[in-house]
C-alpha cells in the first residue's frame, strides 16, 4: 500500500481508469455497460451501468484480493483502527455470520444477548454454535431492551469457561451501548474472543464525543454497516478484525457464502464512503448529533412524547448512549410506535426507520436538512393533537425472557410439524418469529412458546407490525418441534 493515503480511493480510481480505457467487453454482465438494457440505463444513469462490471485483473477480485481491493481494504482497516478489514457485499448479515462462523464450530458455545439481530441466530443455525443467552437489561418505562450488564456477562463467562466468544450488540438499534471495554477485558482474561455487531455504529469511529468503538475497545471482530449511517450503498458492509484474528481464515469463511460476482457499485461505494468518513467524518457527525439533539428537544417540548437520550445512562446496562439516534417513546399518547410509524407515512408522507410496540426510531444523518426535521417535529405535534388517546390497555413490556429448550440448529432441523399458532402454547418453536424492522426475534428456534410470547405476537399483529420468519407467511400456523 505504498504511497496511499486516506485521500485515495483505489477501487474508485481503478474503475475510472477502466471506464476511460473503453475496454471492449466480452465478459459478463451481459448488459455490456448498459447498452443491452436501455430502460434500466435511462433510469439508473449511464455512469452507473458502465461501472457495473465483473472482477478482472485491473479491478482485482473480492474473494482473493491482491491489488486495488486489497489496498482499499487496507485503507479501511487504517481508517477504522483495525488490523484487517473486509469489504462485504452480502449485507451486514454476512459480516455478522462470518464473525460467528469464524470463531465457532458445531457445538461451540457463544455468549450472546438474546436481543440480537436475526442474522446472529441464523448463523448459529448454520454453524451449530450453542448460544448461552444473557438477558439484556430492560427499561420498563420505555419497553425496550438495553445493553448487557457486565456482571451478567461475567457470570455467564464463569459458568461457561469453555465458551469461545462473547457477542455484543453495540449500539442497539435504539442507541444503547454496553460497557464494551470491560466486557473485552473479562472475556480476554478468560481466553474468549469478543465479536461486536456494530451495524449501527459506523459513526463511533469518526465522530467526536461518541461512545467507544469496538476496535478501540479492543474487541476482536466487528461488523459495521457502512451503508446505514456511513453513506455507502445499501447492502455494502465492513467486517473488521483485530490482531488476535487469523484474517486469512476469516476470508475463507466469508468465501463460503459470499457471492463470487461482487458488485463493483457496492465496492466503490464502500471505498468512497471510507474516504469521505476519513476526511470529513468529524464534521458530518457533529452536524448529525446537532440535528438529532435539536429534534429531541423540540419533540420533548410537544409533551406526551419522550425522545430519550443520555439521561438513560446508568453505568451498567446503559453504559453510554448514541445521540445520533432519534428514538421516541410514544405510548404515553396512547399510540403504539408502529401506529405512529404508519400515520407518519400514510398521512404525512414521512418515512422513518421503524416503529415497534412503544417507540419509533428516525435515522438522522448528514443528508438531513432542517426543513425536513421541522416537518417531522410538526407532524409528531399534529399526530398528538389529532390521534392521541387513552393509553389504557396498551401492552407494556417489550422484552420477554425466553425459555430455551434446544439449540437453534437442533430445533430448526428437528422433526417438526405445522400447527395453528392459537394452539401452540407450551410447544417448542422450530422457527424464528420477529417483527421486521427491527428484526430482533420474538421467538427463536428451540424456545418455548409461552403466553407472553403469544400475547406479544397477537398484539404486534393487531397494531400492524410486519411479522416475518415462519414458513407460513401469514403466521396463522407455526412449526413446532415434534416429540418433545
Amino acid at each position: 500500500m505504498k504511497g496511499l493515503s486516506q485521500e485515495n480511493a483505489p477501487i474508485y480510481e481503478a474503475l475510472k481508469a477502466y471506464k476511460e480505457n473503453r475496454t471492449v467487453r466480452f465478459d459478463v454482465p451481459g448488459h455490456k455497460g448498459g447498452r443491452g438494457n436501455k430502460e434500466l440505463t435511462e433510469f439508473l444513469g449511464e455512469n452507473c451501468l458502465k461501472v457495473d462490471v465483473n472482477s478482472m485483473k485491473p479491478l482485482d477480485n473480492l474473494s482473493h484480493p491482491v491489488s486495488v481491493i486489497k489496498d482499499a481494504e487496507k485503507l479501511a482497516a487504517e481508517a477504522f483502527g483495525a488490523e484487517n478489514a473486509f469489504f462485504i457485499v452480502n449485507g451486514t448479515t454476512a459480516a455478522v455470520q462470518a464473525m460467528i462462523m469464524s470463531v465457532c464450530k458445531s457445538e461451540d458455545k457463544i455468549i450472546i444477548p438474546r436481543n440480537v439481530h436475526k442474522s446472529a441466530i441464523n448463523a448459529m443455525i448454520i454453524c451449530g454454535a450453542i448460544p448461552v443467552y444473557v438477558n439484556p437489561g430492560v427499561d420498563k418505562d420505555l419497553g425496550i431492551s438495553l445493553g448487557m450488564s457486565v456482571e451478567d456477562v461475567k457470570d455467564a463467562i464463569l459458568k461457561n469457561k469453555d465458551a469461545k466468544a462473547v457477542f455484543v450488540n453495540n449500539p442497539t438499534y435504539y442507541g444503547v451501548c454496553s460497557n464494551l471495554k470491560e466486557i473485552v477485558k473479562i472475556a480476554h482474561e478468560n481466553n474468549m474472543l469478543v465479536l461486536v455487531d456494530e451495524a449501527h455504529g459506523t459513526h463511533f469511529y469518526f465522530g467526536e464525543d461518541m461512545p467507544i468503538s469496538a476496535m478501540e475497545a479492543g474487541a476482536d471482530m466487528a461488523a459495521v454497516s457502512i451503508h446505514k449511517t456511513g453513506g455507502s450503498l445499501t447492502q455494502s458492509s465492513l467486517l473488521l478484525c483485530g490482531k488476535n484474528i487469523n484474517a486469512d481464515y476469516v476470508r475463507q469463511i466469508i468465501n463460503l457464502t459470499q457471492t463470487t460476482s461482487a458488485s463493483y457499485l457496492l465496492l466503490v461505494s464502500l471505498d468512497l464512503a471510507r474516504k469521505n468518513l476519513s476526511l470529513n467524518g468529524k464534521d458530518i457527525f457533529n452536524k448529525t448529533a446537532e440535528i438529532a439533539n435539536y429534534a429531541r428537544d423540540e419533540i420533548n417540548k410537544i409533551g406526551g412524547y419522550r425522545a430519550f437520550s443520555k439521561e438513560l445512562i446508568n453505568n451498567d446496562t446503559v453504559y453510554d448512549f448514541d445521540v445520533t439516534k432519534l428514538s421516541v417513546h410514544t405510548r404515553d399518547i396512547g399510540l403504539a410506535g408502529i401506529e405512529v410509524y404508519d400515520i407518519l407515512r400514510d398521512e404525512y408522507n414521512i418515512q422513518i426507520e421503524f416503529g415497534d410496540i412503544g417507540n419509533i426510531l428516525a435515522i438522522i444523518s448528514a443528508g438531513d436538512r432542517m426543513l425536513e426535521i421541522e416537518r417531522l417535529i410538526s407532524a409528531l405535534s399534529e399526530i398528538k393533537r389529532l390521534y392521541s388517546k387513552d393509553k389504557k390497555g396498551m401492552l407494556e413490556s417489550e422484552y420477554i425472557t425466553p425459555e430455551v429448550v434446544l439449540s437453534p440448529r437442533e430445533a430448526f432441523y428437528a422433526r417438526k410439524k405445522s400447527i395453528p399458532l392459537s394452539k401452540s402454547l407450551g410447544e417448542i418453536s422450530s422457527e424464528i418469529v420477529m417483527a421486521y424492522p427491527p428484526g430482533i426475534p420474538i421467538l427463536s428456534p428451540g424456545e418455548r412458546i409461552t403466553k407472553d410470547v403469544l400475547d406479544y405476537i397477537y398484539y404486534a399483529k393487531e397494531k400492524g407490525s410486519l411479522l416475518t420468519g415462519p414458513e407460513d407467511m401469514t403466521l396463522e400456523n407455526i412449526n413446532i418441534v415434534e416429540g418433545l
Binding site: 408522507n349 410538526s378 407532524a379 405535534s381 399534529e382
Partner: protein
Amino acid sequence: MELWYTENHTENVRFSIKVNKVLYSGQSQFQRVDVFESEEFGRFLTLDGLMMITEKDEFIYHDMIVHVPMAVNPNIKKVLVIGGGDGGTVRELTRYETIESIHMVEIDKLVVDVCREYIPQTASKLDDPRVTVYFEDGLKFIRSKKDEYDLIIVDSTDPFGPGEGLFTREFYGNCYNALKEDGIMVNQHESPYYSYYLNSMKRAHRRIKEFFPITKVYQAHIPTYPSGYWLFGFASKKYDPVMDLKEDEWNKLRLKTKYYNTELHKGSFAIPNYVKELLENE
C-alpha cells in the same frame, strides 16, 4: 449586447424578460436571491431563478391575497403572514387601521434585506409599528400557537425548495390550530394549468379540505407567473368567502386598489370547469 432573464415555465415553455441590469445577486443558506431591473416590468425579484414579484404586476397578487379575506371579515385584528419576505402582503395589510398586529415569519432574512434595499415599493411598510418580523421556519413558528390569529396568509414560494413544508398536512393542521374560531387562512395555491405543479396543488387542496369546513379557491391573472393564471386558496372555520362578503362595509373604507374590487371578489370564485374538475376529483 442583450441580457435576458429566462424562466422555464415547463420543460418546453420559456418566459423571458429583457434585463437592463442585474442589481443584486447572492446566495443565502436557503436559496439564490436575484434582483433585476427591466424596461417592461421594472425591478423584479427571483428566488432560485423563479419569478417572485415584479414592480409592474405585484399589485395583483398582493391585492388578492389580502383584500379578499379582509372584505369577508373586516374585524380581523391579528394577522400572521408566513413567507412574504418582499413585504408586499404586509404593505397591503397595514392599510387597514383596524388591524392591531401583524406577525411576519420569513425563513430567509436575505430576501427581506434585499427587498428593503432594492424593492422599497413592496418592502416600505415593514417598519410599521404593528409589524413584527421573525426570521424562522414558518412550520416551526406556528407549532406552538393556539387560538391566536384571525387571519393567516401563506405567502410562500413553490412547493419544491424552502417552501416545501408550507404545503404539508402538518402545516395546515398547525394553521387550523393557530386560528381563532372564526379564523381564515389564505394561501397562494399555485397554477392549475401546467402539470408540473399540478399534483402538489391538488394534494395541498385536499389536505386543507381535511381540516377546514369551508374551502374555496379563487383566481387572478398574474402575467409573470407560469401560464399567467394563478389560484389562491380560501379556507375558513366559519365564513363563506362569497356569502359572507361584507361588501358595503369594505367599500366604506374607501381603500384605493388597482386590481381588487368587491364585484371582482365575487367573480374570482367562479372558476373554470377544468379547474373545478381537477379539484373535485381529488
